[in-house]
Symmetry: C2
């Protein structure tokens, strides 16, 4: 509790437990919608959300290494490897041995990988665009501010590095 309920009295009504609860529920329902369009496309190709995440971040940072991707995704290498292996086998991702350090695998999307990534992100952007347009630019700024404030410090570092040029 500590500070819910009656609220300080000034302009802090947006911090009441009730307001926070609405935010929590909004987050839950919106995230489900957010993932639903890609999920439908992925199901057709017999892939899952994990494949989408890999495709997305390889697309964002072509040539990234496996270790790098692990830090961004926050999963174990065994988990990522399973997904990566199927993507390489299916010819959507290419894992090139590093020049300077031959232990590294630099990940790139193939033409096929780019095509699927495009299909997925088009769907996701379409929903986001509709929501942005409906809410307006000031709302969008606030949306981003709150989400960024919600991240862990470590995660925010990854996010900001991606957000502002690689």
């Amino acid at each position: 509790m500590a500070e819910g309920g009656a609220a300080g009295g000034e302009g802090l009504l947006y911090l009441t437990d009730d307001q926070l609860r609405k935010g929590i529920e909004a987050m839950f329902f919106a995230y489900r919608a957010f993932t639903s369009d890609p999920d439908r496309i992925l199901a057709v190709h017999d892939y899952g959300r994990a494949h989408h995440r890999a495709l997305h971040f390889i697309h964002r940072s072509p040539g990234t290494t496996v270790t790098n991707l692990l830090a961004i995704l926050g999963v174990t290498k065994q988990s990522l490897n399973r997904v990566l292996r199927t993507l390489v086998e299916d010819g959507l991702v290419e894992a090139r041995i590093g020049h300077a350090d031959r232990r590294e695998r630099h990940l790139h999307l193939t033409a096929g990988g780019l095509a699927l990534e495009r299909q997925l992100s088009d769907a996701q952007r379409a929903r986001m665009r509709a929501a942005y347009r409906a809410a307006g630019p000031e709302a969008v700024a606030g949306f981003r501010l709150v989400l960024e404030a919600m991240m862990d410090a470590d995660t925010r570092r990854h996010y900001l590095r991606l957000r502002d040029g690689t």
Copy 2:
């Protein structure tokens, strides 16, 4: 594509593909943080996210039926049933047979269920409160607006019914 890239020219720069992509990534990273605190608590008790969701919505709508909960959570009844069964076995949830319709099960939290729900929502609210406070009231209003615009129409109905008194 359709309208990304150069943008119409007016004040539509917030709808560029680049801006949308940042929103998408913010959503991904923030949601992970959003679920991390409850996840830690749940792990201690040997429960998962699905248990949290059930506890949350039973708390919100005491006496709700299984079918009702199904519509809100958007999973199959078999999936929900498994979670519900463990919660009932562990004495966190009580499933009372319906008066009017004996096929129905009306769900209630026990004292133990209320305690765990409180612990989980306290943790989740703490993070949300910190983010709200950091971003400020105008940002919070925008945050909610965008999330609501992102939901499917059906989901939004459930959300609004919960948002404005039961």
